[in-house]
C-alpha cells in the first residue's frame, strides 16, 4: 500500500511501558496530532490517551430500534393487502409478529454496529499512515506525530528520550 506524504515523525517502541511514557511526554508537550499503533488493544495505551467512549453504541441502539420498527412494520403493515386468515390465528397476531421483530432487531442492530465501526475506524483505508512500520502489527508499538518540518528534530529527540528504538521522519 502507498504511504501519503504527510510531514510526520514515526517512532517505533519495543516495550509497552516505553510507548505509554511517549504518550505522556507528548501530552505534556501539548501535542494533539498523534496516533498510537499497537498489535493488540491495551488498556494502558487507551488510558494514557484518554478521550470519550466510542460512539459505536449509539449506532447499535439506533440500528436495533430501526430493526424493531421494521419487524413490526413488515408484519403489521401489509395486513390490509394480505388479509388472509391462516391457521386459525387472528390477522393481527402479536406473539408470532414479536418473534419477527425480535430477529430484525438483532439483524439491524448488528448491521448498524458494523456500519458504526466502519465509519469511526475510517475503514477502508487505501493508504497506510505516513511512516507506518510493519513491526507495529506484530510485536512492536508505534507513535506517529504530525508536525511541521522545522519541529521534527525536537520531536525526534523527545521520542528517543522516551525509549523509542527507531525514529524516522516521513512525508518530507
Amino acid at each position: 500500500m502507498k504511504q501519503p506524504a504527510v510531514p510526520c515523525v514515526f517512532a517505533v517502541y519495543a516495550h509497552l511501558d516505553a510507548v505509554v511514557r511517549g504518550i505522556h511526554a507528548l501530552r505534556e508537550a501539548g501535542e494533539k496530532e498523534f496516533q498510537v499503533f499497537s498489535p493488540v488493544p491495551h488498556h494502558d495505551i487507551l488510558h494514557a490517551i484518554g478521550g470519550k467512549p466510542s460512539p459505536v453504541r449509539v449506532y447499535t441502539l439506533a440500528g436495533g430500534l430501526l430493526g424493531l420498527a421494521i419487524g413490526w412494520g413488515i408484519t403489521i403493515g401489509p395486513l390490509g393487502n394480505f388479509g388472509l386468515h391462516v391457521g386459525g390465528k387472528p390477522l393481527l397476531s402479536i406473539p408470532p409478529f414479536g418473534v419477527v421483530a425480535y430477529i430484525t432487531t438483532i439483524l439491524f442492530g448488528a448491521l448498524a454496529t458494523l456500519l458504526g465501526m466502519i465509519i469511526n475506524t475510517r475503514l477502508p483505508q487505501v493508504n497506510l499512515s505516513a511512516g507506518y512500520d510493519e513491526r507495529v502489527s506484530s510485536d512492536h508499538f508505534g507513535i506517529q506525530v504530525r508536525c511541521a518540518p522545522v519541529r521534527m528534530e525536537a520531536m525526534v529527540r523527545l521520542l528517543k528520550r522516551t525509549g523509542a528504538v527507531d525514529v524516522r521522519r516521513a512525508g518530507v
Binding site: M1, L16, P39, V40, P96, F97, V100, A110, Q125
Partner: protein, 440 residues
C-alpha cells in the same frame, strides 16, 4: 496455552497453518470435492426427475433433508457460544479456539442453508418466502414458524459472518505486513487498511463487544425457532413446550463435539499444540458432559410427560420410538449421545486423543439420529393408523447428505489454508506485552 510465549512466537507459529499445503492436504481436498460433486449431481438428478427420488412420501414428508438441516444448524451453535458468550464472560481459554469454532458456525449455516432449497423441490421459486413487494400478490405468512426460520437462519448467518470477518481484520493486517508479492496485495485488500491505531482499537473493541452481545441471544433463539417448526404443530411427539431448550442443548452438544473433531487434526497437522493444548480439549470435553446431561434429562422428561399426562397419542408415539420400526436408531442415539459422553468423567479418557475422537464421533452420529428419530417416527405414526407409513433412505438423498458433509469439511479445509485459523491478536492479548524497560 503457554503464557510464556512472545508476540513474535504467536505470529510465526500461528501463521504455520497458512504455509503451502503438502500432498496429503490436496489429496483430501480433492476427495472432498469429488464427494461434493456427487452430492450436487444427486441434487441435479432430483431437480430433473422430481422429489420422488428422495424417498419422501405421505405421511413422511420431512425426512433426511430436514434432519440434516436441523443437524447443521445445531453444529453452528457452538461457534457462537464459544466466540460470543465465552468472550462476554471473559473465559481465557476461548482465545485459541474461537476462530475455528466461528468457522464451524459460518460453514455449518452455509451447509444447513442448502437443505431448505433441496427439500423445496421447486427451488426456482424459493424467493417467494422473502418479504419483498411483487406483482404476484405474495407476502410471507409471518404467523408460520417456517417464515421465522427463514429470517432466523438468514440473520444468524449475517451476524455470525460479520463477527467472523470483523474478528479477523487485525490478523489479516499482520499477514499483510509479513508476506510479499501478490499475497501482500490480497491480504492488503482483505485487511482494508487496518493499522491498529488507538482510534481503530477503541471503536473496534466497542463494536466487537456489541456484536458479541447481539450474537448471544441468537444462540438461544435460532434453534428455539428451528424447534418451533415442529413444536407449533399438533403432531404427537412434536407438540411440546420443552422443545426449544431441548433443541438448544442438543445443538450445543453436537457443535462442541464438531469443534473438538476439527481442532484435534488441526493442532497436530500445523504443530500448534502450544496454543491449542490438552487443557482446551479437556475444557470442551467437560462442556460436553454438561450438554449430554441436559440432553439426557430432556429425553427423560419427554417420556415422563408422555406417560404422566395420560395423553394416548403421546404415549403411543414414545412407545413406538422405543419399540417400533426405528427403535434401533432410538437406542443408538441414547447410547451415543448420553451414555458415551459420560466416559468423559474419567480424566484419563477426556485427556486421551483417541477417546476424544471416538466419543465426539459418537455424539455426532447420535445427534443426527436424534433429529431423524424425532422427525421420522412422529410423521410415520401419527393419529390415524390408516395413514401410517415408513420412510427408507434412497441413494439420492443419501448422496446429498454425504455431499453436505463433504461440502462443510471442504470449506473448512480451504479456510485453514487461506485465513488465520487461530486468532493471533486475541492469543497475543493473553500473553504478557513485550518486555518492560527500554531506554530513558
Amino acid at each position: 496455552m503457554d503464557y510464556k510465549l512472545s508476540y513474535t512466537d504467536a505470529d510465526i507459529d500461528l501463521m504455520q497453518t497458512m504455509r503451502p499445503a503438502k500432498r496429503g492436504y490436496w489429496f483430501l481436498l480433492g476427495f472432498l470435492f469429488l464427494l461434493v460433486l456427487m452430492g450436487a449431481g444427486a441434487w441435479w438428478a432430483q431437480i430433473q426427475t422430481g422429489m420422488g427420488l428422495a424417498g419422501k412420501n405421505s405421511p413422511v414428508g420431512w425426512a433426511m433433508y430436514i434432519t440434516t438441516f436441523v443437524f447443521w444448524v445445531g453444529i453452528a451453535h457452538s461457534g457462537t457460544l464459544i466466540s460470543a458468550i465465552l468472550f462476554l464472560v471473559r473465559v481465557r481459554w476461548r482465545a485459541a479456539v474461537y476462530r475455528s469454532a466461528e468457522a464451524v458456525t459460518v460453514f455449518g449455516l452455509m451447509t444447513a442453508g442448502l437443505f431448505p432449497f433441496i427439500h423445496l423441490g421447486r427451488v426456482w421459486v424459493a424467493h417467494w418466502i422473502l418479504p419483498f413487494p411483487n406483482f404476484g400478490g405474495l407476502w410471507p405468512n409471518f404467523r408460520s414458524p417456517l417464515a421465522w426460520d427463514v429470517l432466523a437462519i438468514t440473520t444468524y448467518l449475517t451476524v455470525s459472518s460479520t463477527f467472523f470477518i470483523v474478528g479477523m481484520l487485525p490478523d489479516l493486517a499482520v499477514i499483510r505486513d509479513r508476506v510479499k508479492g501478490w499475497r501482500k496485495k490480497v491480504y492488503g485488500f482483505l485487511s482494508q487498511g487496518w493499522q491498529g491505531t488507538d482510534m481503530q482499537w477503541k471503536h473496534y473493541t466497542a463494536a466487537y463487544v456489541f456484536l458479541a452481545a447481539l450474537a448471544t441471544p441468537l444462540v438461544i433463539s435460532v434453534h428455539s425457532i428451528v424447534s418451533w417448526d415442529f413444536a407449533m404443530s399438533i403432531v404427537p411427539g412434536w407438540h411440546s413446550t420443552i422443545f426449544a431448550p431441548y433443541f438448544v442443548a442438543g445443538a450445543i452438544h453436537s457443535g462442541l463435539a464438531m469443534v473438538v473433531l476439527l481442532l484435534i487434526p488441526m493442532r497436530k497437522a500445523f504443530r500448534i499444540e502450544r496454543y491449542i493444548t490438552m487443557h482446551h480439549l479437556e475444557s470442551l470435553a467437560r462442556f460436553i458432559i454438561f450438554t449430554a446431561l441436559v440432553v439426557g434429562f430432556a429425553y427423560a422428561v419427554e417420556f415422563f410427560i408422555a406417560w404422566y399426562s395420560g395423553a394416548r397419542f403421546e404415549k403411543a408415539i414414545f412407545l413406538y420410538r422405543m419399540m417400533g420400526d426405528y427403535a434401533w436408531a432410538f437406542w443408538l442415539l441414547i447410547t451415543t449421545n448420553v451414555a458415551a459422553p459420560m466416559l468423559f468423567w474419567f480424566k484419563r479418557i477426556r485427556t486421551s486423543i483417541p477417546w476424544l475422537v471416538v466419543i465426539c464421533i459418537c455424539v455426532e452420529i447420535g445427534m443426527w439420529l436424534e433429529r431423524f428419530v424425532i422427525i421420522v417416527t412422529s410423521l410415520a405414526h401419527d393419529f390415524l393408523p390408516s395413514a401410517w407409513g415408513l420412510y427408507k433412505p434412497t441413494p439420492i438423498d443419501t448422496m446429498i447428505v454425504i455431499g453436505s458433509f463433504a461440502w462443510f469439511f471442504f470449506l473448512f479445509m480451504i479456510f485453514v489454508k487461506v485465513l488465520p485459523a487461530v486468532s493471533m491478536w486475541e492469543v497475543k492479548e493473553q500473553l504478557p506485552p513485550p518486555g518492560r524497560g527500554g531506554a530513558r
